[in-house]
Subunit: 723 residues, 2 copies
């Protein structure tokens, strides 16, 4: 096999991924969206989501153009080329396109899932999962396709200089990271501003049930699920996926300096280690698609088991495939800088990555799962009030960092032992090799959640909501695992990019005993704290604007005001027992709420509030790199990665555990022989914990994944200028 | 001047410090303790404090003996000696003695402060501050004395091997750290268990006012102030003080390898850099004593201004003195390992340490001060409930890490630029040079707090409580600054010990690009999260036992039960309007509460809960050091120091800010044109924040100071075995 053939095969795999998304999304579109009312609501949500995307694209376009010009101008001709700007734009475009496709299908799949739930659980699962799999395969397909095409083009431009090819390609990762910043941080702010705003003023002040069409913020809330959990998560994993592949390519290029490697690699002329991550990713696409066929459930069956079968099934075939790919492509053994490497070593490093991803996911599930000890402990501490509930949740979150970090540390040492720095990077690729199906399962969650909301808003029979709730409950568990996986992969990707940064700057070491490095370590360690604080404040401010807008609508829109009055007048009666007149007044308000205004507020707030933390993430590494040098920047990256991962785990797990502690009361929980339900004092205390946990787990926590990767990739891009 | 003369002078300075404590403590003892009732209450508190100390000493004795044997046996004969065990025991003894003296006087000064407040503010301030200054001078006096004597003895044993002298002396620092662990972690658990227990069951369940003698936990609560804030803070600063001196000595000994240094240092035979920290500390004692004479307030004057005058006055004279000491002792300039050093450079490094200590204190005050923007923001967020109050507090805490870390990073780079690694260590000594007066001001706080409690329990007139409240309010600000100072000094001390560790193991670098170091960094970074979680859980469990004991007493002790019933019967009447019979029933309960039982519960819980985190701090560096090597241990230390400092600042400031946001409601606060008071809904929301913040700022946060220093010192002690 030649290098070109391998690239063409990668391109083919990317195209297969995209064909799958086309097929699945047209299948989803063909399903019945249900009643008129359901269609109308789903259009509101879809329009809101598109409104957010459009607003985001406007800012994005400016940002991308400015950065592309800066990149093009500042590119150092020797090691890089102004084409790095082209890579950047391509990365941004691919990520944007993946997000666009995913959101579009998700906002179609939600209402069709609701409609399918009218007949049964199995067809509903099928549609929700199909919607998720479009996001999943879109991400991996565009990632592999974009990278492969760039690689092919640049290789034909500089056939004799593979280092230059790879250096210029790093811009692709930077583009992906920039979009991830907008999607994840902006999306996180959007979704929580809408959620908190809708809850505080709708449920608490006006007394309207959740997901009720009278609440002007309810559409924004449902849009938020798509914006934050579908597009945000997709962009996050796209960034990890692309970042880990590129980091590994940079480190693989190091072996071009090993005579024993180049001699043995007759097939690919010493490029085997560079192309291996693309080959693994390409095969991973096929395995993920295979995995989706395992996801089937019979009526009355367990959706969780079906999803697990898909994920674990594809993991197992991926392990087998990796064995053959790695041993087929890499030389059996080689030597570099006095160290001995082997294909089997690289294989083990890949497995270490895959296994530690699964482990971190399972640990996350333990700390946040319904009925598990940590969550029960938080529920128990709710008996003495909200303060003890909060303390318990913070404690669980902090404690939950221990095991994932031990897994991560062991993975770092293990992967390094088996494959050196290249081993650490390829472990990230291993962890992310089945991103396709992982993300399909992740995105399935918010689609089911939306489906439930639409069922509620469309006055469908109770059994429909019961079915969507069952899908949603499974979605919560997969979301928790997905968050753990996203953090773990972000950590390994950041490390891959970090080692690639060192390889590029050619600094021999990053020595903590030097004052600059130590100072960099402290400064870097502080950034996740500052970043989290900014994200939380942003949610607070945006929620405040949302509250004011909802209050204004309740006051200024006569139909809404009248409907609210009628509702309160008939507080204890069901709708069918109301007077004809009251029913008419109430019905007249339908659709009178100005959902678009609320969507606009969340959109504007998200875009505005994202700027400062975003700039911080991009500018700090540049300033430190040029003022303090590459080694201090290395210290900064190490600091931001370590505390970033810790704070991300802490916040995600505390938030997840609080959420489920609250849910345990809603399902009814027995503590010390007494049973507690929704509405009890301990439940109210648990609601406080959940509200604190919301921005933790959905805004500030996940934003840190982006922070650590973005800072690493910015450093990698400016690395040639720091030599 | 010869080295011996300098040591004798240091011993003399230490003795002067101790004479001052003798003089002041006998002066305090001679003051009038007031009425019979006041005396009785103060005896309860003093006995409770001694009961804790005794229980602590029992466990301590076992711990010290076991560790001493291990140290003695494992000492490597070449670089160390089994006398390291003697140093360890001496360090433990000196710290214990300082804590004992400080607690004894504090528990005498409290009641005498109350009594003096019956006449006026000025005499009350005088006694409270005198009590604090005994703790302050006891700590610095015993620190300098203990170190100087050991140095003298070991120098006479090994006159030709100063390296061995210093290596063996490091055990002193380990001894100090071990006591600090017991005092700070145990004390922190003690004080919050008593506080939370007394509040939840006394104030909330039984409806008794704070500090009421009917509440069986009230004495334990007052004991807690002494145990946590006097003895705990004292041991913490003793550890920093001793650690920074020893770290600097180890690094100073490096210059014995510089020919130009040894040649120029004719006076002290190359030992000038080793002895400099002792000389600075010795002079610092005298300057601190001088400073105490500035602390005077006229009737109606401002106690804060008086305390500030003492602190800043002694800082300024210390700067001047440092200039002459450093230029007098060190050669004008010298060369080592290709780097140029100078006396003036070392002077500037010292000033950088001193100034950054003050800056970190001032920043802490900004983020936690009454009426300052961050605290007002938290108060405002209380309007929408406890959840938003919590989110705001967490946000403020996280954000408040930024400036102190920037100061710290600048200090590291600045001190290193002026004086290399030695500069970093001497900066810590500079920051800590006026520990004597700093600690006097710190310990003054809890004494005033106790004085207020005693006034309440003794039914003294309102103006007495008003005066003690004024002293206490000032104490809260100094406590916040003191906490910032303690964290800053812990960070620099840990760095000093860390660099000393590197100098001892002779590892050329701690290279983050090595997998082991990176893994160490992650593991180390995780420990403060785990440690904090353990400390918070410990408080939760201990408070639970306390609640059960108080409930039991209210049920089982007939006199208490009757008095409670009478109190509730006369709920809306003042005591003087009660029937004679009711008054008699109520009075009969006086002193019937079994305070001792509650004291015992807090004591036992504190000791028991401290074991696991304590062992963790001692064992982890040993395990990592021997299994992963010195460089991985270095990574671990860097990780634990960075996140330890961040988490300590985050928790201390969040807790302080929540506390004062609550206080703002108690004083009455106007938000958006509306005035809110104690008992309003926003105040209740703020109380939740305060309760969450209590273990943050008084248990888990301060414990991290110990964690980072203890792990560094353990590493330094085992360093000779890792070469």
């Amino acid at each position: 096999m030649s290098a070109d053939l391998l690239i063409y095969l990668s391109i083919a795999a990317g195209v297969v991924g995209l064909l799958y998304t086309l097929w699945k999304s047209s299948w989803v579109s063909k399903q019945d969206p249900g009643t008129e009312r359901m269609k109308r609501i789903s259009v509101y949500i879809a329009d809101g989501a598109m409104a957010f995307l459009k607003a985001e694209y406007r800012v994005l376009a400016v940002f991308v153009v400015v950065v592309a010009i800066l990149l093009g101008v500042s590119a150092d001709a020797k090691a890089s080329s102004s084409l790095v700007a082209v890579s950047f734009i391509m990365g941004a475009l691919c990520s944007t396109l993946a997000g666009f496709i995913g959101m579009r299908v998700a906002t179609k799949a939600n209402v069709r899932t609701t409609n399918a739930a009218r007949t049964g659980l199995a067809p509903a699962l099928e549609i929700a999962f199909a919607g998720g799999s479009v996001m999943g395969m879109g991400v991996v397909g565009l990632g592999v396709l974009g990278l492969s095409v760039l690689f092919l083009v640049y290789s034909s431009l500089w056939p004799a200089d593979p280092h230059k090819v790879i250096t210029v390609i790093t811009g692709f990762s930077f583009g992906a990271s920039s979009i991830a910043l907008f999607a994840r941080v902006g999306g996180g702010i959007y979704t929580k501003a809408a959620d908190v705003g809708a809850d505080l003023v709708g449920k608490v002040e006006a007394g309207i049930p959740e997901d009720h069409p009278l609440n002007p913020a309810t559409i924004a809330d449902n849009v938020g699920d798509n914006v934050g959990d579908v597009a945000g998560m997709g962009a996050d994993l796209f960034e990890s996926y692309v970042g880990s592949i590129i980091g590994t390519m940079v480190l693989g290029a190091v072996f071009l300096g090993s005579a024993s490697f180049v001699q043995a690699d007759t097939m690919l002329n010493g490029m085997a280690a560079v192309l291996l991550p693309l080959a693994l990713a390409g095969v991973g696409i096929i395995m993920s698609i295979l995995g989706t066929f395992f996801v089937r459930v019979k009526e009355g069956g367990d959706p969780q088991a079906a999803l697990n079968k898909g994920e674990f099934g594809s993991s197992i075939v991926m392990i087998i495939a990796s064995y053959f790919i790695i041993n087929g492509l890499l030389p059996e053994s080689w030597e570099f800088n006095g160290h001995q490497f082997s294909a089997m070593g690289v294989f083990w490093a890949t497995i270490i990555g895959l296994v530690s991803g699964v482990l971190i996911g399972l640990i996350t599930e333990y700390y946040t799962g319904l009925g598990k000890r940590p969550v029960v402990e938080i529920a128990r501490q709710s008996l003495t009030g909200s303060a003890t509930n909060i303390i318990a949740g913070l404690g669980v979150g902090m404690r939950s960092t221990a095991l994932p970090i031990i897994v991560l540390a062991a993975a770092i040492i293990g992967a390094y032992t088996f494959g050196g720095l290249y081993g650490i990077a390829i472990a990230a690729v291993g962890m992310l090799s089945n991103t396709g199906i992982q993300l399909a399962v992740d995105a399935y969650g918010p689609i089911s959640d939306n489906a439930g909301g639409i069922a509620e808003m469309s006055d469908l029979p109770k059994e429909v909501r019961a079915r969507t709730d069952k899908l949603d409950a499974v979605g919560n568990t997969t979301a928790a695992i997905g968050k753990g996986f996203a953090i773990g992969s972000a950590a390994l990707t950041a490390l891959a990019l970090f080692t690639a940064f060192m390889a590029t700057t050619k600094i021999p070491s990053i020595d903590i005993s030097k004052a600059k490095v130590m100072a960099g370590l402290f400064l870097g360690g502080m950034l996740p704290f500052l970043f989290s604080s900014m994200a939380m404040q942003a949610v607070g401010r945006a929620a405040m604007s949302m509250i004011q807008e909802v209050r204004r609508q309740f006051k200024d829109i006569p139909a809404l005001k009248a409907a609210l009055a009628v509702m309160h007048k008939n507080e204890n009666k069901e709708y069918k027992d109301w007077s004809k007149e009251d029913q008419a007044t109430f019905d007249a308000a339908d659709g009178k709420a100005e959902y678009g205004k609320c969507v606009e507020i969340s959109t504007k707030a998200a875009i505005r509030e994202m700027v400062l933390p975003g700039l911080l993430a991009v500018i700090v590494p540049v300033v430190i790199g040029f003022s303090g040098g590459a080694e201090m920047l290395g210290g900064l990256l190490a600091g931001v990665t370590v505390t970033g991962v810790l704070m991300a785990i802490f916040q995600a797990n505390a938030g997840g555990a609080w959420d489920n502690a609250k849910k345990m009361f809603e399902e009814g929980i027995e503590i010390d022989g007494q049973k507690y339900y929704k509405g009890s004092d301990p439940h109210k205390a648990a609601v406080v914990g959940d509200t604190v946990g919301d921005p933790f787990k959905d805004t500030s926590g996940p934003s840190l994944n982006i922070l650590i990767k973005l800072m690493s990739v910015v450093s990698l891009v400016i690395a040639p200028l720091l030599i």
